[in-house]
Symmetry: C2
Subunit: 205 residues, 2 copies
């Protein structure tokens, strides 16, 4: 397994495969082929076979892939075979939605804490959480050994908050603030910005 | 201008440049260099120069880029020099948040309608919108000539709803449902799925 050398673009497709396979299992399917999976994910069967083969021989000529086996392997590769604790920073509308989102647990994540700096929000209940004071974030995250955060603060506060997350030991930030973050080497950032995604499509319209 | 042949990966970086330039203007800056922009977006100066030069000669050796000029050019390239109307499908927590999000207008978009099939939601006010009946969506979108939709319905309803959007004349779908969509050629789909983004990072942890 040359996992260290697998291009990031391949890594980016694995969650898409895993998600489709999990939906197949929910519908009672046990085996699939790269061709069938291709129809579900919109990526060619050849590409799927090539991507998956980076990590070993998971399919059999003629019989295809065992779905539960491939799910286990992909979970192991993506390190979501156990559950990661996640902190949500910012208890606005988006922070609320993420804290209550039911779709994380079967994909390897659970929200365990939610922070805001607005005194009118701190102490309030959001789903099963009490909004905690942002001033205590670094200590709380460090003590709980949380490594992943979702950042939903305003753009003007995002870099300073990200710096504190890094200080608290967070290694992966999913950033919803519409700004690029500067983080030290070894810290991973992914971006969700709907306007960016829309602009990427209008180019082609 | 060989815009037709510009690789999609370059197109994907243009919104990031545009966003950073817009923040610079807000802070009163008028000119920048590829080096300075590089520090804001975390992409190398050489890459920025190469990406931008695909579309013409926008910078001057020594003096760099005029920020307002480069913003205008990028808006033109991305076709966000006028405002696109957007429909939000699904009036759950995420649909609410998107309908009220203030960050779209200065980036080329405005939400103009919001649909749901839940009778307890239809007719209710969300920000400045009244939630409309999903059963009327195709007609409403077609009559209003809306070409872009954000899809926030449950995964189980996403494909059928996407089919209706295509039927209504929508050309670009930002899909928040955790499922890959099958759409005809010429229809653009972008995906936002936080669990996918998180899994892409846990691989490296």
């Amino acid at each position: 397994m040359n996992a260290d050398k697998v291009p990031d673009i391949i890594i980016g497709r694995l969650p898409v495969y895993l998600r489709a396979l999990q939906r197949m299992v929910e519908r009672g399917m046990r085996t699939t082929s790269s061709q069938e999976l291709s129809e579900h994910v919109g990526i060619s069967a050849a590409q799927i076979r090539k991507d998956v083969s980076q990590f070993g021989e998971f399919g059999k000529q003629g019989t295809g892939y065992s779905i539960p086996f491939l799910i286990d392997k992909l979970r192991e590769i993506l390190k979501v075979n156990s559950i990661w604790d996640v902190a949500v920073i910012g208890a606005g509308e988006l922070g609320h939605a993420l804290s209550r989102y039911q779709g994380f647990t079967d994909r390897g994540f659970r929200v365990v804490m939610l922070f805001d700096n607005d005194p009118s929000k701190v102490g309030k209940k959001v789903g099963e959480f009490v909004v905690e004071d942002l001033a205590l974030m670094v200590e709380r995250i460090r003590n709980a050994n949380v490594k992943i955060a979702m950042l939903t603060v305003p753009a003007s506060a995002a870099q300073a908050t990200a710096d504190k997350l890094v200080q608290a030991g967070v290694k992966a930030i999913l950033n919803y603030a519409p700004i690029s973050l500067n983080v030290p080497e070894g810290i991973h950032v992914q971006y969700i910005d709907p306007a960016n995604h829309l602009q990427r499509m209008t180019y082609y319209l």
